[in-house]
Symmetry: C2
């Protein structure tokens, strides 16, 4: 405890030192000096040790969404919100969740001899490297995939690498069919639901997804509890919902699953094929996958499909050495699929302007098991952010814009708590000025962020105010980390060259910003602090792992509480909304030029001219409005409304082809990636399909959106020039 306190006391000093430098010019503020004082008062509050206590409490039991333990965490969070002075309520929804009743996965060799009987419970040797104090809790559910149907199938096995579209296409090229087979794939490269999405289209009858040690196990570094990587029996749970079609409760796309929603407004469970897989899918540890993989015959897998298990990987079919031995797997998944109650927690600080220009910030609370990193490192930081906001309230501070802090439930099953809440508040959220997300708050010491381009500069400015436990500011360390050569660098590698500043990623999916930015057009950011983290979605993502490998003294918790808090404070009180449409415009022009090149390589004759003209017009309007934002009118209300509406205008009310829930014309999770964003998705997926007419009509929709948005910015400029 002494050690924790020492560090916790040291860091506010560093923050104070930074704040003593002359007040910086901050985009959006006429005069930042008053805000700088509030920032300073705020930053003194978030406490490392308290964050540690929150984390310990929140992760004391497995708290899968809808479980009693999940409800207990909702009550804990609500209590902290109330104690800080927030107008707090627990908001329940009734949503479809599967709970495993019985999970059997077993494998047999050609003679019918059982070569694997699983799933093996997650367990590490209690006598080595301190063991694990959490692994034996009887409340731990068997490892399973959210959204998997029940099923009882026995079939031969084909190994399909990461199960990407390219992997399945290569199997076809090699003459290997997965029709009627169980596909064994490894985690990585794409969202796990996409693996099933593609396998099902190729005719597979089941999917097993295992964690190869090449990707997050011993090949990367020492296994837990010796090091931070996934141990032999470690399993990655996770949803296989078809997230890129729509997230949230599968039975209510576009509608909030409130407790009083009549069943007649829900899609019946047997009609959910659009969003729910039809073939049983289950995760495996490498302990259970290895005997199957090892026994597979047929062709040698392509050499870049080889993982780190100690034998040569084969496909299970194909090749020139005759019929391979008949390895079969029996999967028997008995899922209890039912409507279950989940609980978001919502806390408000009413703004003085009485407008609907909400600043929303959120983090999910539910976990596959203990969820120390994912998500409760974020929850603990958020609670210390709330602690800081509460202290400001006591000091007399009142935000201009209403602040809404949310603790989401059932994110793991498909962003359900956030999606239902966003769908419920759809109308008012059309005015919300920002959504700030944090999910994995802290997995290690390396800050990283993703954001809509209009908020990239905003995030950078905030990180320049916060001290890093490593010395200097968070911004300094973030920049140094990105400049380091690959073996050191832990965060995203810069890929875009639109600006030369520290790189900020593109919002894809896999966390709760998706309903806000991609369905409703609320400008969003996502922050976290990363590190070597191999126990994702396993029993071992627990308090013991966290305090050994992620943040033993919780100083990165404190850092994240500060960064998250400053995002909220600045957005709530900025005179002018600090959106950078100049950079946004530049990036869109870049996206279009890249798509045009891609279309050329496919010999498509698409007319990019109108879209490019619209993007350039949007970029020019963005440059002009930046000048207006720097010298705003006395009453910036109309300007601010226009700035917000410019983002909203990028939505296409018809949504994307095949997935109308996704309405944003610039960003969506890729149909075949899931996590990773596809930019200008209608156009790029039309080109990839390849489907030239679709690409052309999507270009038209994009052009219209860009022209709508440019008109809004141009008019705002004219108005301000009056």
């Amino acid at each position: 405890m002494t050690r924790l306190r020492t560090v916790a006391c040291l860091l506010p000093l560093a923050a104070l030192t930074l704040a003593q430098s002359p007040t910086p010019q901050v985009f959006g503020y006429r005069d930042f000096s008053q805000q700088a004082k509030w920032d300073k008062s705020f930053m003194a509050v978030p406490d490392a040790a308290l964050a540690g206590q929150h984390l310990k409490t929140l992760t004391s039991a497995p708290h899968w969404a809808s479980s009693p333990e999940d409800y207990a965490t909702a009550v804990y969070v609500a209590d902290k919100f109330k104690a800080a002075g927030l107008e707090t309520q627990i908001v329940p929804y009734k949503v479809l969740l599967n709970k495993p009743v019985k999970i059997i996965v077993e494998a047999f060799d050609a003679d019918g001899k059982k070569i694997m009987s699983g799933p093996t419970p997650e367990h590490v040797d209690p006598n080595k490297f301190g063991g694990d104090p959490f692994q034996d809790d009887p409340r731990i559910l068997p490892a399973f995939n959210g959204s998997s149907p029940s099923g009882d199938v026995t079939a031969e096995v084909i190994y399909a690498n990461y199960g990407t579209l390219a992997d399945f296409q290569q199997l076809t090229k090699l003459g290997v069919s997965v029709k009627g087979k169980i596909v064994l794939v490894r985690y990585g490269e794409n969202f796990r639901g996409i693996k099933t999405y593609i396998a099902q289209q190729y005719g597979a009858v089941g999917v097993l997804i295992y964690s190869d040690p090449a990707d997050d196990g011993f090949f990367r570094g020492d296994m837990y509890p010796r090091g931070p990587y996934r141990p032999e029996t470690g399993v990655q749970r996770g949803s296989i919902q078809f997230l890129p079609i729509y997230p949230g409760d599968p039975t209510t796309p576009g509608v909030a699953s409130t407790l009083d929603l009549p069943d007649s407004k829900r899609i019946p469970v047997d009609k959910l094929e659009n969003n729910q897989p039809s073939i049983p899918t289950n995760p495996l540890s490498y302990h259970d996958a290895a005997p199957i993989l090892k026994a597979l015959g047929g062709a040698e897998s392509p050499r870049d499909w080889q993982g780190a298990l100690p034998f040569t990987y084969h496909l299970g079919a194909g090749g020139t050495h005759g019929t391979p031995p008949k390895i079969t797997v029996h999967m028997h998944l008995d899922q209890d699929i039912a409507l279950r109650t989940i609980w978001d927690v919502e806390g408000r600080i009413p703004g003085t302007d009485n407008s609907d220009d909400w600043v929303v910030a959120g983090n999910h609370r539910d976990a596959w098991v203990y969820g120390a990193v994912d998500p409760n490192s974020g929850t603990a930081a958020m609670l210390e952010t709330v602690h800081g906001l509460g202290d400001l309230l006591k000091q007399g501070w009142k935000p201009q814009r209403t602040i809404v802090i949310c603790s989401w439930d059932a994110e793991e099953e498909g962003l359900i708590g956030s999606t239902e809440w966003a769908e419920q508040h759809e109308k008012v959220l059309a005015h919300a000025v920002a959504y700030f997300n944090t999910d994995v708050g802290v997995a290690g010491p390396n800050f990283d962020a993703a954001a809509v381009p209009s908020l990239k500069q905003f995030v950078r400015e905030v990180t320049k105010e916060v001290a890093s436990p490593k010395g200097g500011t968070v911004y300094d360390q973030w920049k140094a980390d990105q400049a380091a050569p690959p073996p050191t660098r832990r965060t995203r590698r810069p890929t875009e060259a639109t600006d030369s500043d520290v790189h900020i990623g593109t919002l894809g999916s896999g966390s709760d910003y998706t309903p806000f930015i991609q369905h409703l057009g609320v400008p969003s950011t996502d922050i976290g602090s990363e590190g070597p983290y191999g126990v994702y979605h396993s029993v071992f993502d627990n308090y013991n792992w966290f305090t050994k490998f992620a943040d033993p003294t919780f100083v990165y918790e404190q850092q994240q509480a500060r960064v998250f808090g400053l995002e909220i404070l600045h957005m709530a009180d900025a005179d002018v909304l600090p959106y950078d449409y100049q950079l946004y415009g530049k990036e869109i022009v870049g996206y279009l030029e890249a798509a045009q090149k891609q279309a050329t390589t496919k010999n498509f004759t698409l007319d990019f001219a109108p879209a490019l003209a619209a993007a350039n017009r949007f970029a020019a309007a963005g440059t002009a409005i930046r000048a207006t934002q720097s010298t705003p009118p006395a009453n910036p209300t109309t300007l601010n409304q226009s700035l917000r509406n410019a983002e909203g205008a990028l939505l296409n009310p018809e949504g994307l082809p095949k997935r109308s829930w996704y309405k944003h014309t610039i960003y969506a999770p890729g149909e075949f990636t899931g996590y990773a964003a596809v930019v200008i998705p209608g156009v790029n997926e039309g080109i990839d399909a390849p489907d030239a007419p679709r690409a052309q009509s999507q270009l038209a929709a994009l052009t219209a959106a860009l022209n709508r948005s440019a008109t809004i910015l141009e008019n705002a400029n004219k108005e301000a020039a009056k």
Copy 2:
């Protein structure tokens, strides 16, 4: 047998078809038409099935140099030489060789419990994938390293990756000392003797070299007998002589170890530290290395030091987790180190010109065990070359220049048979016009070559005349193979851009061309046909492996016999020696420019101007003499002497610093690479050391050599213009 015959009959037809095209212009010939006829006659002879029979006979028993079985192979080869009409003799030498009497390598954990007791005999399951019919021969020696001293050491272990200079430097940076330790390194990246050379300099007391499955085992593809890669118990034997200091019999550098050489002319065995390691070194299979590596504590190894064994690799020391467990290894090597008799076989076809302008061609015959690929695939091909030459002799052909075909012994222990023979014939070899080497004749279907630049075009021309079993010519397939994307390409990746033709490698060391080119300045080439070959220097490099994975119908044997034969025929009968000094000059200019860049990055102020001037002068003379070579004088004798002397003039009689046996100023095996060539070695190793004065004085020696050679070419040009 039918299948073999069919293929063997088909291919000469293909060759005939190729020869029917109009007679090409071939560099060195005034009129190629007569030679084209001899070529055609020659190429009809080499027989795939006969090559297979040679291979089967030569590899029927382990035939380590100096063993009775080795002598039997010498007799077999001599008989074939004689049958073809060559003037044949078996040439014995008396050389220092170590033979293992007892090899013990065992490992103990911190409690003194034995965790490994080795070496484990090389063995695969006889009931799977056909097993291996050769593995149980009692004449197989335990796996050992040639040139290792005896020793009995017990020490803790440090893992040092590939044991390169950079690896040892990185250990030092990580605060890990190998002083007093046994170093465990993996095969690859450099010549194995260099691993011991550096380990010894860093204070290690022993070295264990193991084969990591990442480098030639299951990670690359299926293990023998299922596939061509090294099985679990497979060991790579091999010499750890300090080859870059000097090769050959350690007791007689620069002198031939003839049977009558008095002991007084030999360096005593206890004074051989210059060329012989002083610390015991032994190879291991991954079966035996894995328990040691797995038990090592201390710091995690750098992540690019991780191999394919199923655990995280550690260094054995360092790191932040306190004192690692004390893993010790006991190595007890009892070597019988003695002068032993070896047997080269030499066969001559006297030339009509009665000159000393010999064409020498050779391949070694001794093997660590059976040596089906290394070296007897080359021997079998060479015997079919001799078969073809014999047929030409019967048809009345007589070569202009004397041809000497050699079957070397004790190459594996350090190029001993070839070095002693070359040292014995030093004077006459100053006139030899070429040395053609083949070692691994056939490991698979992908032709590849290395050569001194003056002979690159010569090799390409020869391969354009020979049919490939894959269709087209060897040249066509070679080119297609190099153009293929990396996963398909098996041969060397082009790195130099001096000419845009098919890439030919640079001669480093590790085979018998070294005494010829690097000690005596005889222009050399090295050819082979490559493929996935993971059983190098193990018991499993045997006839069973060869016929399963390398060349089941011996058609590549036939191809190599033809290419090798055409090299000899063309060099023996060319009107003008077909050396390309234009390309040679260009390459040297490129080497100097690269070295200059390297010197600049080290802030060396070296004067490259004289060397660059000399290289450009040499290149210009090369361009001029190419014209002369194309329209030669009626009597080209003087021109040919000059052409040959131009290569000889590139020797520096003083040799390289620290290793005066190496006299060539342009090529040497690298002091810290062994296999890989260092170009303009005096200069580049001076820069790398870093030692600016040495680099400058080596630049001067190089400048002098280039000017000497340029003068010779210029004078020859003047003479021819008269």
